[in-house]
Symmetry: C2
Subunit: 169 residues, 2 copies
DNA sequence: AGTGAAATCGCTTTAGC
DNA sequence: GCTAAAGCGATTTCACT
């Protein structure tokens, strides 16, 4: 996907500032971003485009209240696999994140193999989701569902404090 | 926060279409949104503003690649509480989501009380995070860390298939 | 690489219907 | 809620440092 071979050159403090701003408000205009970080708008345009092309910014998405769109029942489902046939797992990781209501999907180490974060229209729909899409799937040993009482996005930043001002120079 | 008493009136198919578009591309312009859903730009502006005011759209945020910003170690941490002193728990749910690197935090039912999704600069930093911010906290009994091999955002939509076209009429 | 200014483009917003 | 139009602000290009 990345076209530029130098995809891995590290982000400078201005890039990180842009990341932080877009994390907080993904609709901030190029002009305002430029003002905030203290560079020209033209430069800012190039930098933001580059951040997207390099995959630093993977996307900009609205955060939707599940309750408002008829999915008041949120759950975290811990899935255990058996056999670990690679093809089963690959199919799983391909299909599950694309199901409606799925907010996140995590392949993890340890006693649990996979977590699915989902929002459903009802408890019945949640049960059906687990049975139809998780339990009833080759390779799945067990799925344990935890209802989510409260779900919070991270409010902090992904940028590291130690990167914010010139570390070495 | 919501100013309008009729905050709860259900979303019509056009609102849901707007939600779906902004889920996919949070930077889509008002003009393009209007075109896509087939309403006037002025109307679209009012609707989108209303979706934000009603809290249907909670925010629009850049999705950042943790690796690119120096946080290559992702983990899901399962926390168990003891005593369940309300004040401890409230402090926890207030502070943890604001810590740097925290992507999500979930208060759940069942054997586990809380899940924290975090991205850290290193395994050492992850250990420190768990010890400093989770284990070493009043009320926390246990924290079990699962490394995340692969993390995926939901690629589907939060809108419900049954809402997309007139359900009753 | 980054800048600043200019020109184009398109968006937001306000009327009136 | 729509149309139309105006005004404004944005993005983008380009010559230059």
């Amino acid at each position: 996907m990345p076209k530029n071979p130098r995809d891995d050159k590290p982000l400078d403090p201005i890039d990180l500032a842009l990341v932080r701003l877009l994390e907080q408000d993904g609709r901030m205009s190029n002009a305002m971003l430029a003002r905030e970080v203290g560079i020209a708008e033209s430069t800012c345009l190039v930098r933001v485009r580059s951040l997207r092309e390099r995959g630093v910014v993977r996307g900009i998405h609205a955060d939707i209240d599940p309750v408002a769109v008829g999915r008041p029942v949120e759950a975290m489902i811990a899935v255990r696999f058996g056999g670990h046939r690679r093809s089963h797992f690959e199919q799983f990781t391909e299909e599950v994140p694309a199901l409606p209501g799925v907010l996140g999907a995590f392949h993890v180490s340890g006693a649990i193999d996979y977590y699915v974060h989902v929002a459903c229209p009802s408890a019945d729909a949640l049960r059906d989701f687990v049975l139809d899409h998780l339990t009833n799937r080759p390779g799945v040993l067990h799925a344990e569902t935890s209802l989510i009482f409260e779900s919070q996005r991270g409010r902090g930043t992904m940028t590291r404090p130690e990167d914010l001002l010139g570390p070495s120079a």
